[in-house]
């Protein structure tokens, strides 16, 4: 008790002000502005690609607009920078009343990247009713259905793509679904033999193939094989963000926190790198661990403030592996499960349910596993008896 504090008279207003501002202090992290010391202080650096991809005047014809929007979407995906989706939206806007099939496909791509799955699905379904030969559309639809756990629909969409796409593409499409539906062994074998054959020569397709093999090897509990495939894929696409995160997750799984920190230290401006740094930092008691955690928390707060919830999978993982707060993690993991039902999401749901000791959530995961015959080494750890 500070009853005898001479500041008593000022304590009341101070407390009131604290209440007024408290909500803000908690919910936001708006920094204080400052005046840089000198005119040469560099405040920001612009990349050449960024300049090239944001021309002052937007394209006036559809062909140019399609090219630019495609480049913007791809660059944004490669860099993990959502602003470029907004730019692509702007590029496509004048050609969207009504959109041609090519424009529709780009819109659907933007939407699915924003996790607006329902909207993307509706758009694609309408498009494919009129233009069933848009193989790319079928692939995208298959992907959305698979991500959301609608495996029959996903299989069917892969099949429909066969009319307009090469067989190897369809095989890859089907394999990604089979991996979740009890035919994992068969798909794994098919992909391995495909990798040994000369059928896949195209670089992008090879990267896709090796990525799938790496993921299935992890699923199979064969980290060395996964590493082989990852090496092969990364040799072809060293800057690929998805592959790098996959590599880092494999390292984390094997306890190589140092490798993660060394690899991602220069990628701190990316949320997903920051999350993995925070996990690795915490596990290895790195001096910067708290700083990374704090920075990631700030990003979450900023997203929440803007009413965006794209990051649920990562948010749940952060709550589970960094904070850690199993109960909160489970809440977010469950919300995420409503949206996404990939293996990663299933692992997260189960890990959070186990950490929070929640039988209902465990049952949800268990139901899904039993219904679809999901096989996964990481899941097996939770139920030794559930797997053969």
């Amino acid at each position: 008790m500070s009853w005898t504090n001479p500041q008593t008279g000022r304590r009341f207003p101070a407390a009131l002000l604290l209440i007024l501002c408290g909500g803000l202090l908690v919910s936001t992290t708006w920094a204080a502005p400052y005046t840089p010391d000198n005119d040469n202080t560099v405040l920001a650096t612009l990349s050449d690609s960024q300049r090239a991809l944001t021309p002052a005047s937007p394209p006036q014809n559809e062909a140019d607009a399609l090219r630019l929007a495609r480049a913007q979407i791809d660059y944004g995906r490669q860099q993990g920078d959502p602003r470029f989706l907004g730019y692509a939206q702007r590029t496509l806007r004048p050609f969207s009343q009504p959109p041609s099939p090519a424009v529709s496909l780009l819109w659907a791509d933007i939407e699915q990247q924003r996790h607006q799955f329902t909207r993307a699905r509706t758009r694609l379904t309408e498009l494919l009713e009129q233009h069933p030969n848009q193989g790319q559309g079928w692939l995208m639809l298959a992907n959305i259905e698979r991500v959301q756990g609608q495996f029959d629909a996903a299989r069917q969409a892969c099949g429909n793509a066969a009319n307009s796409l090469p067989p190897t593409t369809v095989v890859l499409c089907q394999a990604s679904v089979q991996a979740m539906t009890g035919q994992h062994q068969r798909a794994y074998a098919t992909l391995q033999s495909l990798a040994d054959s000369p059928l896949v020569s195209d670089t992008t397709q090879s990267v896709w193939l090796q990525t799938l093999i790496a993921e299935m090897a992890i699923q199979q509990g064969e980290p060395e094989r996964a590493q082989q495939a990852l090496d092969a894929a990364l040799a072809l696409a060293p800057q690929d963000a998805y592959l790098r995160y996959l590599q880092n997750d494999l390292w984390l799984q094997q306890g190589h926190s140092d490798a993660v920190i060394a690899d991602l230290k220069n990628w701190q401006d990316r949320d997903n790198a920051l999350l993995r740094l925070a996990i690795a930092g915490k596990r290895s008691q790195h001096p910067q661990a708290e700083q990374w955690q704090h920075a990631y928390q700030q990003r979450l707060d900023a997203a929440e403030l803007a009413g965006r919830t794209v990051h649920q999978r990562e948010h749940a993982r952060y709550l589970l592996q960094v904070v850690p707060s199993p109960t909160e993690a489970l809440t977010v993991a469950r919300d995420n499960w409503q949206q996404q039902k990939e293996l990663t999401d299933l692992r997260l749901l189960l890990a959070a349910a186990t950490a929070a000791d929640n039988d209902a959530a465990r049952a949800t995961a268990r139901d899904f596993i039993d219904t679809h015959g999901v096989h996964d080494a990481a899941l097996q750890a939770h139920w030794p008896e559930a797997q053969p």
Partner: protein
């Protein structure tokens, strides 16, 4: 095209975004007692670059000097993307904004330009309408996050391509929210204000007793105890409400040290009266007189929030109601317990005298500290 589609499928499942989406951060401060508004608008340099070329020497870096040189463009082209008005519909009148300063600010995803601005409305705004048009024609996914503070009441709204206008605090709901905010502050203030609580309790200690034949006797009826309590609380309320209003409206002004010291003195005197009940037979009179002092203490809170002058009636009323609610809660908690315990020797011979002495000492310490 085949490359694209395969890449697309491969990466469609890529984890959520890394960089932050495009947001600007806006604060707006206004009061109902002044036509002036002030604010700050933080815009990411990357976003600003889309609209006005900041990199004058084309070296790929945006320096502080380059940003500063663009100040005229920021004032003439960027700031007008934000318009603030008072009133609604046909009665709406613009509050023209001017750029008053430029700084840099580091947010989680990089450096922003911080535009300080101020504006003057035709009249003190009861409600503000904000129209936000920045960047939507370059990035339709851009958001503007506004945090407004009107007379201490916070509102947060988000502008997007589809929602470019917001009316702040215009509805009855907004005013009701503001009012509730002040009620809460009043409650909070009395509950954390030890000296006010202590004064009230000191007066209430003997409310369940009567002084007869040189000693405390339990009040014979509930009615008697309630009458005493009610008289004390009412008297205290009437006078502290009065001085709270007078001080807040600026009619009385006394230095804080004097008011705080006087409050400590009232607590000490209240405790003394419990020890010498013969000298202070009518406790409600004491509450009535000393309430004047405590009201001045409450007023300092509103003054410290910068709430003085014309637009004060609503906050004042809310705050006062809050104080009374808090006071009632204390009374309802204390008096029934005291009534039940009134017949015990512990209450009459120990609690009242010893408690009063302790309070007197404590108040004496406060008094010395506040005077020094």
């Amino acid at each position: 095209m085949k490359h694209c589609l395969i890449l697309m499928l491969l990466l469609a499942c890529a984890p959520a975004f890394a960089h932050k989406p495009s947001d600007s951060y806006l604060t707006l401060n206004s009061t109902a007692s002044s036509p002036d508004i002030t604010g700050r608008w933080d815009i990411a340099l990357r976003d600003l670059q889309l609209v006005t070329d900041l990199d004058s020497n084309n070296d790929g870096n945006i320096t502080w000097g380059e940003l500063r040189n663009r100040q005229p463009e920021l004032a003439q082209q960027i700031l007008p993307m934000l318009t603030v008005q008072t009133g609604q519909g046909e009665t709406a009148q613009a509050c023209p904004l001017t750029l008053t300063g430029l700084q840099a600010n580091d947010h989680v995803d990089g450096t922003y330009a911080a535009l300080h601005f101020q504006g003057t409305c035709p009249a003190a705004p009861a409600q503000l309408g904000v129209h936000y048009r920045f960047l939507f024609d370059r990035d339709p996914s851009h958001h503007g996050l506004l945090r407004s503070n009107h007379d201490g009441v916070e509102l947060a709204v988000t502008f997007s391509d589809k929602q470019r206008r917001h009316q702040l605090d215009s509805s009855g709901a907004g005013q009701w929210q503001a009012f509730q905010g002040f009620v809460h502050q009043g409650i909070h203030h009395i509950l954390i204000g030890y000296d006010h609580i202590l004064f009230l309790l000191t007066l209430l200690f003997p409310a369940v007793l009567v002084w007869q034949r040189g000693g405390w006797q339990p009040a014979p009826t509930m009615r008697g105890a309630l009458t005493q309590t009610l008289a004390i609380v009412t008297a205290f309320t009437v006078t502290h409400s009065l001085t709270l209003a007078l001080a807040t409206l600026g009619i009385i002004t006394l230095p804080a040290w004097l008011v705080e010291s006087a409050i400590a003195l009232t607590v000490a005197l209240g405790a003394a009266a419990n020890l010498l009940p013969g000298l202070f037979p009518k406790r409600w009179i004491m509450a009535f007189v000393f309430g004047l002092v405590h009201g001045l203490g409450f007023a300092s809170v509103l003054a410290d929030l910068g709430l003085m002058g014309d637009g004060i009636v609503l906050p004042l009323l809310g705050f006062n109601i809050g104080v009374e609610l808090g006071q009632i809660a204390i009374v309802l908690l204390f008096v029934p317990l005291a009534y039940l315990a009134r017949d015990t020797a512990l209450y009459k011979r120990v609690f009242v005298p010893v408690g009063s002495v302790a309070i007197m000492i404590l108040a004496g310490v406060w008094l010395v500290e506040r005077l020094s």
